[in-house]
């Protein structure tokens, strides 16, 4: 069942639409309660019937951090900008897991919710959006681990900490941008299911998580490298915690790429949306 929250006097006209459609993001606001419930469902259902429940959110990055610290920090002696290696890599793992988790869930969200899409009308954008928002809950939990580490290593962030929410927002928007593209493509082409994990893994290696951006040579290689928006996000995240020189170029590249991917993704999504129920 769907209600269209149209005003009494404005009749709803159903007819074929052609070409690119307006984004109508205002519609999302009308359906904000449904967005809340979908997000809440995603969070709630994820850890049902698992013994450790939400603690997985903490265990995963902590274990990765320990392994990286041993292999890359202790054995390979990778530079970590003068910051203790464990916290150096953990500060990158947090936004990375936010991004990759949100992206993976968003990418398959439409197909997984096909029973909704074929039975109920609502702005379809709510589905990948809820998947991304649900990732923020995990992020908030693992942020507490970071806090403990900061205290343990006696690192006091400066005024730059104010940039942390912005970095988080950028990671979320980047995940949403790619997620919107991939979820819409996935409805039509199930190839996306194979591409998605691979894509996430490729981006992982192309992000400065285990290593520092100092290892990347300047010039054209660096420009190419900066096209991965997570480079800018992670650098900004680290900067907000540890200070140092602001990652200006990386950040600009990340914002440009994110905006381009997100805007084109939203338009593509809106264009494909009308056939979702027929194709999915």
């Amino acid at each position: 069942m769907t209600s269209t929250y149209s005003a009494e006097d404005a009749p709803l006209i159903i007819q074929r639409s052609e070409g690119w459609a307006a984004l109508q993001l205002g519609d999302l606001w009308h359906y904000r309660e449904l967005l809340f419930f979908l997000t809440w469902r995603d969070v709630k259902v994820r850890y049902k019937q698992s013994i450790l429940g939400l603690s997985w959110v903490v265990i995963q990055p902590v274990v990765v951090m320990i392994i990286f610290s041993l292999i890359f920090g202790q054995f390979a002696h990778l530079p970590s900008n003068g910051i203790p290696y464990p916290i150096f890599t953990f500060a990158a793992l947090l936004p990375w897991l936010l991004f990759s988790g949100s992206l993976s869930r968003a990418g398959s969200s439409l197909v997984q919710n096909s029973s909704l899409i074929t039975k109920v009308y609502f702005p379809r954008l709510l589905v990948p959006l809820a998947a991304v928002l649900a990732g923020l809950v995990d992020f908030a939990v693992s942020l507490s681990v970071l806090l403990v580490l900061m205290i343990g290593y006696r690192i006091t962030p400066g005024w730059q900490l104010l940039a942390l929410p912005a970095a988080t927002l950028l990671a979320t928007l980047a995940a949403l941008g790619f997620g919107v593209w991939l979820s819409a493509l996935n409805v039509q082409f199930r190839d996306v299911q194979f591409v998605l994990p691979w894509f996430v893994q490729v981006l992982f290696f192309l992000s400065p998580i285990a290593y520092s951006t100092q290892l990347i040579p300047g010039g054209r290689a660096q420009l190419l490298y900066a096209l991965n928006p997570m480079v800018g996000v992670i650098e900004m995240f680290r900067w907000s915690l540890f200070g140092g020189a602001p990652p200006n170029q990386f950040l600009v590249a990340a914002i440009v790429v994110t905006v381009v991917v997100l805007v084109t993704g939203l338009f593509y999504f809106r264009r494909m949306e009308r056939t979702f129920a027929d194709v999915v």
Partner: protein
């Protein structure tokens, strides 16, 4: 005149490939780009699920939509619910629309009854405040108070359906579009649901009610339209429309060639061409004496060799209530292998049908699930109130039930 729903020239075209293939891969799409250059594709692969449909529904009117499977009812609902866009024409809806194509949409098995009420309610377009207000009423209607905090995966199927319907029943749209969701639950609950639908109708809301169940249509609707092959074939009072629908069996009896333009569903790899009902003498008939065995013969035209095939024969009353369903694979029967060309299938029944008019619904599927063809009301026949030798009568004047089981009695004589 104030209308709540105005439909004009509505049409919906499907490319058959889209409908039958579960999904397309990138490779198919790339291959398709090249294929499309060839002008051939055109006719075969296109299906108009709705064509040139026009009608109005007045405010407060309860309109029934009837038709066989594949007649376009579901497509009409999907278009009016904004799930899919029409290919041509348009529909104008005045007022808040609520459409109910399924009960329990969005129910999550891991969530509790309470949580699912909120989730489902929001999905159906209710505000949280509205759900809060109606919560107790919903729970009382569903009769599941004790299990509110149990995950619904632990519910019995009856409880699940009751809860799902209860949420839907407490929506308050101005226009309600309902599919055959009433065909769920036990008889008591069905009656309760019908009652609830009736009171919704009496409250002056506009209702579009799609159903196979002529009884429900007759009791709820003031007017009805009949769809066949995506087109409107009758529009009038409920009695007129039901009569038009019942009279529109694709074949009247005994033996029936199935015309090409009959309403059918399926990918068309095999098509039902002809059906016969044969009595014990092997001759085609459209009347069965009480207690007489009979055989259904069906001919399918296959486009190519197809293995792992199930044939399904349904016997329904002429009002559309299913009496029995049989498959050739019942009791571990082997699936059939259709050869390219015409295939004959026979199925003999030993069942005493009680006196009334019946229709045969015949469909053919792959064991894996794909439907090749599905024709409802393919053949019509009557069961008589008397045995062939007139020695056996079914006594009660008004028939209750559908079959007379073979029984052995004990008692004083």
């Amino acid at each position: 005149m104030t209308y709540a729903i105005h439909v004009e020239g509505l049409g919906k075209r499907y490319r058959l490939g889209h409908r039958t293939e579960p999904y397309r891969t990138l490779r198919d799409e790339i291959a398709g780009r090249f294929k499309r250059r060839r002008p051939k594709e055109a006719k075969d692969d296109i299906l108009w699920a709705l064509r040139d449909l026009s009608f109005d529904v007045k405010e407060g009117e309860v309109l029934g939509v009837i038709g066989a499977n594949g007649a376009g009812k579901s497509t009409l609902l999907k278009v009016l619910s904004r799930l899919t866009e029409p290919t041509e024409g348009r529909a104008i809806l005045r007022g808040r629309v609520g459409s109910l194509l399924e009960v329990g949409t969005g129910f999550h098995p891991e969530l509790t009854g309470r949580e699912n009420i909120y989730l489902n309610g929001a999905m159906l377009g209710m505000r949280k405040a509205q759900i809060d207000r109606k919560f107790d009423e919903i729970v009382a209607f569903a009769e599941t108070e004790r299990f509110l905090d149990t995950p619904v995966k632990r519910y019995s199927s009856g409880m699940y359906v009751r809860l799902a319907f209860a949420v839907a029943a407490h929506l308050e749209p101005e226009i309600l579009v309902v599919d055959e969701v009433l065909a769920v639950g036990d008889a008591d609950f069905q009656r309760k649901c019908l009652g609830r639908m009736g009171s919704v109708a009496r409250e002056g809301r506009t209702v579009l009610f799609v159903s196979h169940n002529m009884g429900a249509v007759k009791s709820l609707c003031t007017r009805a339209i009949v769809l066949r092959g995506g087109k409107l074939v009758a529009d009038g009072t409920t009695d007129q429309a039901v009569a038009a629908y019942l009279g529109s069996g694709t074949a009247s009896g005994a033996e029936g060639e199935i015309p090409d333009d009959v309403s059918r569903l399926g990918n068309g790899d095999a098509l039902l061409r002809r059906v016969e009902l044969r009595g014990p003498d092997g001759q085609p008939t459209d009347q069965l004496f009480l207690g007489q065995p009979f055989t259904v013969m069906a001919w399918f035209q296959a486009r190519k060799g197809i293995d792992e095939v199930m044939v399904e024969i349904g016997i329904s009353t002429i009002e559309g209530e299913r009496v029995a369903t049989v498959f050739n694979t019942d009791r571990l029967g082997e699936p059939y292998c259709l050869q390219e060309g015409l295939n004959q299938i026979s199925c003999s029944f030993e069942v005493d049908l009680l006196p009334r008019d019946y229709v045969l619904d015949i469909s053919v599927h792959r064991v894996s699930g794909a439907t090749l063809d599905w024709v409802e009301r393919a053949l019509r026949f009557s069961a008589l109130n008397v045995a062939a030798d007139s020695g056996d009568h079914y006594r009660p004047a008004q028939v209750r039930g559908f079959v007379r089981p073979r029984t052995n009695w004990g008692g004083p004589r």
